[in-house]
Amino acid sequence: MQEELMASTNAAIISPYQGLPPRAFWRTGVSARDPLDPGDLYTRRFSITKNARIVTAGSCFAQHVGRTLRTSGYAIVDEEALPQAVSDKVAHRYGYRLYSARYGNIYTSRQLFQLLREAYGEFVPAEAVWERDNRYYDAFRPNVEPDGLESEALVREHRAAHLKRVRRAFEGLDVFIFTFGLTETWIHRHSGTVYPTAPGTIAGSFDPALFAFCNLDFHEVLSDFESCRSLIMGNNPGAKFIITVSPVPLTATASGNHIEVATSYSKAVLRAVCGALVERYDNIDYFPSYEVITSQRAGGAYYDSNLRSVTTNGVNTAMKLFLAAHDDAIQVEKFTKISDTLPLNQEEELICEDLFLDRFATSGQTK
């Protein structure tokens, strides 16, 4: 390839870097950019039309993606839709209107694969119902009923009905947008069942004989998502995928590493998997929301004072880049008008199970 390139160009060219666009160089692609301008960080691989049926899932940051696309007029699938008369705040409290079905946050590739397998009757998860104060919670979406339900049987009935909706969502989609969030998860030792949050955090109890910490590696995440892709395409051959990595750092780590080191590991694995997936499959595109928010050019400006939550401005910058690449300027303008009226710190309204972990943090000094 390189030889062909060399042969086809002027003999005076002495380097393969000669003639490359400004985006290929750090000085012109980053240093010279306005601090909060993402520039041309993203070039779409395929377009998404307004009529495309889009299913969204992923970690908390994925809620921004779904909300923005819905606001901008895209056809976000909602298999458990509430009437618009119910306000977002109340709907979100019960897990409605966050994603294309009421599955809550899906932080890991393993959790996604498990959900799909369960929806297609290929997997029966272990310890699927957690109890707290005589109320019962769906272990895989513990936030969708903040006060739990009356009985374990009722939780199972709700889940069975929900899984039908999940199947419908994935069978009817044109585009699946998934935001990778974490590699760390908690696994049921005997069955391999994973949970979005550690047992005992929101409900249930932690038994080390039953559950173990698991930090997925590159190969596992890659394999999980490839399996998801196969499963989805097995029922929906025309499906396309857009993947992204959440720029939100971990709230806590059980890896034994410092939280920054653990975050770096997780994000590096997830980013590398995205790269591999895009290399391997033509129907997968990567959207660099991670790069937009964490860019050194932005100097941390897209993070809130806790250096973790992404600001409204950060979300808007990333999503405008996405919209600009995928549709006409009208939608971007429309979104710009809407986003300008959004309150700051809107990210506080995100429903995130992992924030519960923060209560375990002590104020002790680092050794």
Partner: protein, 260 residues
């Protein structure tokens, strides 16, 4: 003689027509009707003199003003010397609630939908949220207007099963369901009634005798209804009710006033 002012949008017609038939049964009541089509009615306001209608600050275009004069016979009506005020046709937001009932099985309330499950707690919170949206503008204050009663828009008739407009979608799916539907709607109206009461407003429900098991209005009550724009029942109009419905609703409303 007690003076009762009845204001409202096009749904006032059924009650106005019914009054002509039953007024002899209420010799001590004098009802003054002041209604116009919803598109005009929504702009009308109450001023500091307790006059309702096209008062200072209300901007109607010439066509709307002419429509108001034609429909109501005047531009304003006095509320200050009324013994009671009846507001007919407030939007009760039952439609989104009907849509929820149509699409979800709600724990302990209704089943039979092929849709997803919804917990009783979630339904209760959604009901509360929607009911708050149904509250009328602050000018309708039961502390300032004595014996203020609100009458909701009728539920569509069961004939809406043949309707093609999107507004009937949720309702259509309830028709074949059992009385659990009506119970679920009642949960909403119960809460609505409580919130109205907190503003010293009484809310009158749809007349029970006019409702089918599904909670929608029985077919015979929507035949021969009229609006301000048309004297005949439009082919896609299953919301406006006739004089017989108006009679049942008016009797219930006058009873709620406790003036007779």
């Amino acid at each position: 003689m007690k003076r009762i002012v009845v204001v409202g949008n096009s749904h006032i017609i059924a009650m106005r027509d019914a009054w002509h038939i039953i007024k002899d049964d209420y010799p001590r009541l004098n009802l003054n009707f002041f209604g116009t089509s919803g598109g005009i009615f929504q702009h009308l306001r109450i001023d500091s003199e307790m006059r309702f209608g096209c008062v200072q600050g209300v901007e109607l275009n010439p066509n709307q003003l002419a429509g108001l004069r034609r429909d109501a016979g005047a531009e304003t009506i006095n509320l200050h010397d009324a013994d009671a005020v009846i507001y007919v046709g407030f939007v009760s937001y039952e439609r989104p609630i009907a849509k929820i009932i149509a699409e979800f099985n709600i724990d302990g309330l209704c089943s039979g939908s092929e849709g997803s499950r919804m917990s009783a707690a979630a339904y209760r919170d959604f009901v509360e949220d929607v009911a708050r949206k149904a509250m009328p503008a602050e000018m309708w204050d039961g502390e300032c207007i004595p014996s203020l009663v609100f009458v909701p828009t009728p539920r569509p008739s069961v004939d809406c099963s043949s309707g093609t407009l999107p507004i009937y979608e949720g309702w259509k799916r309830l028709i074949a369901r059992n009385s659990e539907v009506a119970n679920s709607l009642d949960v909403y109206l119960d809460r609505l009634e409580e919130i109205f009461a907190s503003r010293a407003i009484r809310m009158v429900r749809h007349p029970a005798a006019a409702l089918a098991d599904s909670g929608l209005t029985r077919s015979e009550f929507s035949r021969g209804s009229a609006t301000f724009q048309a004297n005949i029942h439009g082919a896609e109009d299953f919301f406006h009710m006739n004089r017989d419905y108006g009679r049942l609703q008016l009797i219930d409303t006058l009873s709620a006033l406790r003036l007779v």
